[in-house]
């Protein structure tokens, strides 16, 4: 299935959960906030959040700012 992650199209196997996606991407899970189709998915719900073809995922973290 195709997922749009932070604006980039990427191919993944079916049935992936958000938690697995974050692990596969190698992103540090403790510092990232995730949105699926503009809905924030809380940390503790990532394991039960099944992703589907065409989902838009945003992975956000703190950076420097004023």
């Amino acid at each position: 299935m195709k997922l749009l992650i932070n604006g980039e199209n990427k191919e993944f196997s079916e049935g992936l959960t958000l938690e697995e996606l974050i692990r596969q991407l190698g992103v540090r899970k403790e510092t990232v906030v995730a949105e699926v189709n503009r809905q924030i998915i809380q940390n503790e719900r990532r394991a039960e959040c099944k992703l589907a073809d065409g989902d838009q995922i945003e992975l956000i973290q703190f950076v420097g700012g004023g």
């Binding site: 992650i5 932070n6 604006g7 980039e8 991407l25 190698g26 992103v27 540090r28 510092t31 990232v32 906030v33 949105e35 503009r38 924030i40 809380q42 940390n43 945003e58 992975l59 956000i60 973290q61 703190f62 950076v63 420097g64 700012g65 004023g66």
Partner: protein, 264 residues
């Protein structure tokens, strides 16, 4: 016995939505040459509240150190900003994302109107303030130095109102001290100068006006020697605050001799 200056500084606290602070300098974490330098500057500045931003994870550089490797959220109150948002909806979304980190429910609300001036959109700012206050955020709102807008934001429930001294990153200092004086006279909630200061003297001037604190970023991060400037800003904040508390002499047109003029 008279209090020592350290006691005066220790007891001179202020609160934002019930949370007590002693340092009156809030420092941003953007634009530093390295994160190590940023960490040193935060330390030197004595700050207790640091602003941070939220952006997409760089998927090509994953696993790299993140900002939070350099800032201990137990030591500093994180103040996530909504910088770069040009509508109330965008700013509210960013505030939600920030809160979802579980680290802070503070938000530096900033809804901009255009990229050249980085001036706030007053209508969208007011709308977003109302929403985020209702949702239980601690809302510190960036605004222009308009006394009417400042009052509207306080009425909307802002926990702190933060007029810009001058445009963001411009280093022009406090351009309209009279507007800041009027804002201070009218508002009961904490008023901070956010943005525009360039040097230690700018910070001292702001503090002498009676604002509870100053928020700055570029003035330290882009100084020739950021670490020295961080120290300077800490001293300037304390000097300006003490000068405000001490009460300055009135300005007079003519000289007033300091030395007795007779009996020699």
């Amino acid at each position: 016995m008279a209090a020592t200056i350290e006691q005066v500084k220790f007891e001179d606290t202020y609160q934002i939505n019930g949370k007590t602070f002693t340092s009156r300098l809030l420092v941003g974490t953007g634009k530093y040459a390295t994160n190590e330098l940023m960490g040193q500057c935060l330390e030197a500045s004595g700050t207790q509240i640091v602003t941070v931003a939220l952006r997409r994870v760089n998927l090509d550089n994953k696993g790299e150190k993140t900002l939070l490797d350099y800032i201990d959220p137990k030591k500093f109150t994180l103040l996530p900003n909504t910088a770069g948002c040009y509508s109330a909806e965008e700013a509210i979304r960013v505030a939600h994302l920030a809160r979802a980190t579980g680290i802070s429910d503070f938000v530096k609300l900033e809804v901009l109107f255009d990229e050249k001036t980085l001036l706030p959109d007053p209508i969208a700012t007011l709308e977003a303030t109302k929403t985020l206050v209702k949702e239980g955020f601690t809302v510190m709102t960036y605004t222009s130095d308009d006394p009417v807008m400042a009052q509207k934001l306080e009425q909307a429930g802002a926990h702190a109102v933060m007029p810009a001294g001058s445009p963001i990153g411009s280093g022009q200092g406090v351009l309209n001290p009279n507007n800041i004086r009027i804002i201070l006279e009218k508002l009961k909630c904490p008023v901070l100068i956010d943005a525009g200061v360039g040097s230690a003297s700018d910070v001292a001037v702001a503090m002498e006006l009676g604002v509870v604190a100053v928020l700055l970023n570029t003035a330290i991060a882009h100084a020739k020697d950021p670490l020295k400037m961080a120290h300077a800003m800490r001293h300037a904040t304390e000097a300006g605050r003490l000068s405000y508390l001490a009460g300055r002499i009135p300005k007079k047109l003519y000289a007033q001799a300091s030395t007795p003029q007779k009996d020699f």
